[in-house]
Symmetry: C2
Subunit: 315 residues, 2 copies
């Protein structure tokens, strides 16, 4: 029998060490696992394409981690506990082995950080840019998944962490703004999904901010049939983002992977307690009112801020 071709060699060398229970050592046609009894499954899939979602010279260590974290952020937005993932990797035929080594080493770090393991996938060449996709699977108590609908007039609007660092990081990596300590670039390369925050029963609606705060807030408004007002002066910016002084870009730029939460007034104390327990900063940035689904951003004098675009489309 001839030597195994490189596809199988790649899988054995770089991906088998990442494979968890249920992956069957990546040696069968599919993965098999028993879902946690009595729990609903939560599934998210995302693709990342070189030149669209990441820069051609982004370090391969961070590519797989970012892909996982983007999906984990979707799971966090549903209040789910992650279990495992499948991965497809399409790379140019001349991709060097150290690329795979670094890519897999990054995945290993995040598997440990988030308690997940590789279940299966596919590795192939492409005549185009590196193209990755991941499907991440998690679980949630039945009926407890957080949803985008459910925000009600009178609820307040909250966001975790800081907004705009990822979008500014992209500008920094393109050499368009300064990033002396590399903080912004790091935030672009490695978002911080809010896995572990337990806000079921506290929030009335939730989603993750991935395509721009204003645009994503618009999706939540549409799903909930409410209008939102965001006070720009309350949106939490990192010291580095304040230094960059581009607040409009920050609220429309995308790549935040923070959670946007609608919170009934009576639940605000519980929200603060849970965020305190989890060590997740959270800030009230606005409120929901009845009206046609829309997002209005107000400046510190209460005037509407005109925005050229609400957010980011990957198409």
């Amino acid at each position: 029998m001839p030597t195994l071709p490189p596809e199988f060699d790649l899988i054995a060398r770089y991906f088998r060490p990442l494979a968890g229970e249920g992956s069957l050592g990546l040696a069968d046609d599919a993965a098999v696992f028993m879902p946690p009894p009595g729990r609903e499954l939560v599934i998210s899939a995302d693709a990342m394409v070189g030149g669209v979602h990441f820069l051609p010279d982004d370090p391969p260590e961070t590519l797989g981690r970012k892909l996982l974290r983007v999906n984990l952020s979707d799971l966090a937005a549903m209040g789910a506990t992650p279990l495992g993932y499948v991965l497809t990797v399409s790379v140019p035929a001349d991709t060097a082995s150290h690329w795979f080594e670094a890519f897999a080493a990054g995945l290993a770090l995040d598997q440990a950080a988030f308690g997940i393991a590789l279940l299966g996938g596919d590795t192939t060449r492409t005549p185009g840019p590196v193209s990755l996709s991941a499907t991440v699977i998690g679980h949630v108590a039945p009926g407890q998944a957080l949803r985008r609908h459910g925000a009600r007039p009178g609820d307040s609007l909250w966001v975790t962490g800081t907004i705009g660092d990822g979008a500014l990081g992209l500008l920094a990596l393109r050499g368009e703004i300064a990033d002396p300590d590399g903080f912004l670039a790091a935030r672009y390369h490695l978002p911080r999904p809010r896995i572990g925050l337990r806000v079921a029963g506290i929030v009335s609606a939730a989603m993750d901010v991935s395509d721009g705060l204003v645009q994503d807030c618009g999706h939540l408004c549409q799903a909930s049939d409410v209008a939102a007002t965001i006070e720009l002066g309350r949106v939490p910016f990192s010291a580095q983002a304040r230094q960059a002084a581009m607040p409009h870009l920050c609220v429309t730029g995308g790549d935040d992977y923070e959670l946007l939460l609608a919170v009934p007034p009576a639940q605000e104390a519980r929200l603060l307690a849970e965020c305190g327990r989890a060590g997740v900063p959270v800030t009230r940035i606005g409120a929901f009112a009845s009206g046609h689904p829309s997002v209005t951003v107000l400046d510190e004098s209460g005037r509407t801020v005109p925005l050229e675009k609400a957010g980011w489309s990957h198409f």
Copy 2:
């Protein structure tokens, strides 16, 4: 609020009609579903890249169907019943709406044919060729998943359907061989996954033939620690493949998506009965013996057939 960007428009127009229960209308951050109680889940993921897995002018109707069927074949190889799938679609920014229309229409046909629905996914542009990935989820009774290990010396080797049509179809589409009735091209575009064949408890090992009969049989031998002999004269070829008279290509060319089965002699009658019930042709093409994992292909006079390569690597 500005008009929704094209990404969301695409999802609403072409993918939401495909979305099943659990997809939450593709309007939330992830899909949520309750797995069938007491069943193990089976998960398979595959990527398909233009110029590698399909031809640039392959009809978009068949692209999504082929991607689903490639994954469904993996589920069939595990003896699983399919439930649903997630999909990532990366296409050039100037892709016309009729491409999406045809792509989605093809998916709708196969959703109906195989009893599955779209759960979620991602649509994005790419500066490269069309790149697709799908993760298909199914279920199986606990411990009943078919596996590649388990073949034993003395078992016979069986294959469903016919071998080589897909590989010949690729040659036909490239204009390298004749295909007067379009049968071979159709087999390349639309493989026929053997979902519904119930051979748990009958076969000792199973896998699907996707990268070439000889190579895939080698994987089964490795997993089972046995040697296999294939009698080339017994390998089932379609009338069109016999006409092409390229048996070596047929057994190494890939794209078959038939099942390779190891069957203990005492189970052969049950195998034939089940294949009869399911309407799936099945042929005994060889046998397993003890020995170093290897595949020997014999011609009609019992001589070893020298093969340039055993199969196909997508890298």
